[in-house]
Amino acid sequence: MAPKLPLHHPVEQSSTASAGGQAAHSAPPRGLMRWLLTTNHKEIGSLYLIFSLTMFFIGGVFALVVRAELFQPGLQLVEPEFFNQMTTMHGLIMVFGAIMPSFVGLANWMIPLQIGAPDMALPRLNNFSFWLLPVAFTLLLSTLLMPGGGPNFGWTFYAPLSTTYAPPSTTFFILSLHIAGISSILGAINIIATVLNLRAPGMRMMDMPLFCWTWLITAFLLIAVMPVLAGAVTMMLMDINFGTSFFNAAGGGDPVLFQHLFWFFGHPEVYIMILPAFGIVSAIIPTFSRKRLFGYASMVYATGAIAILSFMVWAHHMFTVGLPLTAELFFMYTTMLIAVPTGVKVFNWVATMFRGSISFEPPMLFALAFVVQFTIGGFSGLMLAISPADFQYHDTYFVVAHFHYVLVPGALFAILAAAYYWLPKWTGHYPNLKLAHWHFWLSVIGVNLTFFPMHFSGLAGMPRRIPDYALQFADFNLASSLGAFLFGASQLLFVWLIIKCVRGGEKAPAKAWEGAEDLEWSVPSPAPLHTFEHPPTFRRDENSA
């Protein structure tokens, strides 16, 4: 079902491509206004990617402040209040500012190219949803400078710590989440409209590359749950400023209600951050195995199954709040079930590699590291699902290890893999191989040195979100801190590599990778500003007809 390219590119296509499409338009604005007003999916995609990279470094610095304080026992560098602000802001910035926008950036760049569309379906909306983000995150970061400091209640902001007991800046935090949420919803609407309406003639849903499929499903998740988050933070706003008691037991409210609302948003949110990664890896592994993706249809169904199950597992984050036994059992069983479709995906990737013809370019290295390390995160996830054992794991470093394995060597490595995979298409140059190898190996070593010992410190009894710890956890924390600084420093190599790649390097042809089969490889590298102004002819692979 993977598409096979037409043997000859339609003549019109290559001519518009080389003309860059500029001739037909009045001169576009230059300088800053060009970026402020752009409605071009590639430019907006680049803006999203640059923004998320910036946020990644800001959130990374916050993480390093945390790791520096935890380097050895005792309080040395920061006060506990500031420590709590750092853990909170690290989580918020990485989730809402780095991982999510970078996937939206990749979607903006690649979905129109992968389905043969000239642009996103709603280009002006696209511009608006991007420019909301700098506003939201400037506001969020500015809370750190307000009296009483920024958010200090963890990225999950449980009431009443985030309401009655919160710093005055919390109202601004709520506003910034609202703005970021609107941005996500608008972005999701745009992706759904694009995927459903703008596919090249002849391309059925089941012909789409998996990245488009996983993003389509992710977009529906976003539309379903971002309003729930908006509702929860609005209730917080009312509790803080207007004397309501949604989450205040003294006024007849229920603090646990907050957790139900938060995790009804929060668990699908976890999949929002990993489903597009599945799509990326499902593009890269077949390309560098020179073999079609094994079980395309089952990949689509598994993604759908994960999405549906994601609405039925939220209370596994709340096993210790005192749920009734039946609820505890229900959420344990549904959570365990998620292992089945997730397992299917991993098995399919391995089966794709089996009897392929495999080479190890940088995108493939990151994709392979993704498969192994994401699976490790999946294993600890399965352990966490076992409710009686979760009483011991819950809110310890074991959980910190688990979700960082899924998010850093998981989601983040998939984003890096995507960057290496599509940089030739974006810039027209291959990334520097030597730098890429250094970046890859230092990242792998750094990430595992950081997060693997956290499994042990968690099992040995170290709670999360503490600024100082008992002496038996000292060795693990020392290792984690060293790993974190190594990982952080090695990401600077990535920035250097991107700058080099934009400026020059080995020229890439339209089809930059030998085994790449999707439509984006039919347009020149670098992709001109306007592509597919005339829809390409899409021909299905005969084998699958």
């Binding site: 026992p73 005792g74 040395q76 506990p80 709590n84 209640f153 009443p160 710590l161 009655t164 710093p167 037991a249 003294a250 646990v256 073999k291 079609r292 993706l293 094994f294 079980g295 089952s298 210790t320 709040v321 505890e328 059992l329 344990m332 069983y333 292992a339 089945v340 397992g343 299917v344 098995f347 089966a351 794709t352 590699m353 089996f354 009897r355 013809s357 495999i358 080479s359 290295l365 192994v372 699976t375 399965l382 076992i386 009686p388 054992a389 009483f391 011991q392 809110d395 190996w441 595992n448 042990f456 009894g461 709670p463 979100r465 503490i466 100082d468 710890y469 008992a470 693990f476 084998n543």
Partner: protein, 372 residues
């Protein structure tokens, strides 16, 4: 190729590290209750299941990566679908999961049965200490971090139980079923002792239940597990499990002490007595926010030393300590501290660090106010 040797080495090192870790006791503790043993065995079972699946999946993957290399001239096959295989690798994990769910369900049911308890203990979380109340026994006390603040800041040697030591541990009997009733006065906390396999959130306005039957005497340590504000990292839990007779003797002794404390309310205290008692309670309960020298931590925690409003408004000072400040971080101490302790703390705050008002607040005055 060389990269792959490194990779594979990595894949060997990780399980090796794991084994080492288990050997050195960095794993989840087996604990000292029947339930904690069951939880540990569930943990090890699911761990080994994951290891076996990992070996198979990663084995297949690395075999493919070695065997089907483009650089060695591997030609890609053309298959890309196989319904039977897909069904098999959906069904087998499902069966494994069912096999795992059965013992997990049985353990969970046991953990959820707090009936027929021999002793009820009320556990109340407070920013940032625990309060224990032996229901029906008239014995109650708060348990504060025992590590001095200066040690945390690097002055003095850090002892073996750094941050895991308290001024007064929760004392429990071995062999009896103890039911915990758990709640909070302010934000959500979570009471966790790994050796007892009990982790339960304490939620303001709600009472959670849990239970424990300890098999071996000893001292078991844990910490608050739910982020609860500034000093979340500094509210440890220490449980001392005593043989039944020792426990009964301890409880009787505490009851007598409590009765004596109650009788202390009726007598007249001198300023010096109250100052001495007040300093002790202030440092245990108030100093984490208002600082040992009364300098506070603005804006949330006002300074008490040199605070004109405090020195001038005796009545409001008492009201603030007894009933707290609604909507702010200051908790009500009416149920947390005894009348003697409240009177002593207020007297101390009105006369320490240069606040020389000379005021004496008698326990009797507080006791009468509490009865209103």
């Amino acid at each position: 190729m060389r990269t792959f040797i490194v990779w594979t080495a990595g894949c060997l090192v990780v399980p090796l590290m794991t084994t080492l870790a288990m050997a050195n006791g960095w794993n989840m503790p087996v604990g000292v209750t029947d339930v904690s043993r069951e939880v540990h065995s569930l943990h090890m079972t699911i761990f080994w299941i994951c290891v076996v699946i990992g070996v198979i999946v990663f084995g297949a993957m690395f075999y493919s990566l070695f065997r089907f290399r483009h650089s060695k001239g591997a030609k890609a096959a053309h298959f890309h679908e196989h319904t039977l295989v897909e069904v098999i690798w959906t069904a087998i994990p499902l069966l494994i999961l069912i096999g795992m769910a059965v013992p997990a369900t049985a353990t969970l049911k046991k953990m959820y049965d707090p009936s027929d308890a021999d002793l009820d203990v009320m556990i109340t979380g407070q920013q940032w200490r625990w309060r224990y109340e032996y229901l029906g026994e008239d014995v109650a006390f708060t348990s504060n971090l025992g590590t001095p603040r200066e040690t945390i800041r690097g002055k003095g040697e850090r002892g073996e139980h750094y941050l895991l030591e308290v001024d007064e541990p929760l004392v429990l009997p071995v062999g009896r079923k103890v039911r915990f009733l758990m709640t909070s006065d302010d934000v959500i906390h979570s009471w966790w002792v790994p050796d007892l396999a009990v982790k339960q959130d304490t939620i303001p306005g709600f009472v959670n239940e849990n239970w424990v039957r300890i098999n071996e005497p000893g001292v078991y340590r844990g910490q608050c597990a739910e982020l609860c504000g500034m000093d979340h990292g500094f509210m440890p839990i220490v449980v001392q499990a005593l043989e039944e007779e020792e426990f009964d003797a301890w409880l009787a002794e505490r009851k007598e002490a409590a009765a004596q404390e109650a009788s202390g309310v009726d007598r007249e205290w001198t300023l010096d007595e109250l100052m001495a008692r007040g300093e002790q309670s202030y440092n245990a309960v108030c100093a984490s926010c208002h600082q040992p020298d009364g300098s506070g931590n603005e804006p949330a925690f006002p300074a008490l030393a040199g605070n004109q409003a405090l020195m001038e408004e005796r009545e409001r000072h008492i009201e603030t300590v007894v009933n707290g400040v609604s909507g702010a971080a200051m908790p009500a101490f009416r149920n947390t501290l005894s009348p003697v302790e409240i009177a002593a703390v207020i007297t101390y705050e009105r006369n320490a660090w240069g606040n020389e008002t000379g005021d004496v607040v008698q326990p009797l005055e507080i006791a009468e106010r509490l009865e209103e």
